[in-house]
């Protein structure tokens, strides 16, 4: 279960990498705004998922 959170985090982080490579390749640095928002959403998503898993396993 927790492995999926790690995988999701890695997928989003790799997405940021894709966006920055795309902005180099096609010379469109405006797309880096999207990368910033993705980084924010990845962190918030990880925090929310861990919070709810911890709630589930509370005795």
């Amino acid at each position: 279960m927790v492995d999926r959170i790690i995988a999701l985090d890695l997928i989003v982080t790799t997405g940021i990498g894709f966006i920055s490579a795309y902005s180099i390749l096609y010379n469109q640095p405006t797309l880096l705004d999207v990368a910033m928002i993705l980084a924010l959403i990845a962190f918030l998503g990880t925090v929310a998922f861990t919070y709810y898993i911890q709630q589930k396993y509370k005795p």
């Binding site: 279960m1 927790v2 492995d3 959170i5 790690i6 995988a7 985090d9 890695l10 982080t13 790799t14 940021i16 990498g17 920055s20 490579a21 902005s23 180099i24 010379n27 640095p29 880096l32 705004d33 990368a35 910033m36 980084a39 924010l40 990845a42 962190f43 990880t46 925090v47 861990t50 898993i53 911890q54 589930k56 396993y57 509370k58 005795p59």
Partner: protein, 133 residues
């Protein structure tokens, strides 16, 4: 010259992201996966973003890139810590060949009580004091 620097940085960034992806496939348990993914992905993304900043050569873009890198460097350890804490508390086992478990005996799954692991020693000290008196 700029193209060469951008190429080298982007190559190393991609290589580190690839190592992170390899690590999440090959590592044996959750804790090792957390360790590999966080470090390699953060370094790889940082290098890719710096390459993008050098390529664009504008102050606004460079500032934006450094904001993203700073944010990643701040949040990656926090989220890794949260995931590790959650997986330990929800009962994910360590790999059978893992050498040490620092939390062993310091966490009670029934009461969710966390301790330093030194409570027994202090109790012994107290009982010794009582015996001396």
């Amino acid at each position: 010259m700029t193209d060469i620097i951008v190429g080298v940085l982007a190559f190393f960034g991609t290589a580190f992201v690839f190592l992170a992806a390899l690590g999440i496939v090959r590592m044996r348990d959750t804790y090792l996966r957390i360790s590999v993914t966080t470090k390699a992905a953060t370094l790889g993304i940082g290098l890719l973003l710096v390459a993008s900043a050098i390529h664009s050569d504008e102050l606004a873009i460079t500032a934006k890139v450094f904001a993203i890198i700073l944010f990643l460097l701040l949040t990656a350890p926090v989220s890794a810590h949260l995931v590790g804490r959650t997986s330990y508390f929800s009962g994910v086992k360590l790999w059978k060949n893992s050498v040490m478990d620092d939390m062993e005996g310091k966490y009670n799954p029934e009461t969710e009580a966390l301790g330093s692991g030194l409570e027994d020693e202090t109790e012994n000290l107290d009982s010794e004091k009582v015996a001396k008196e």
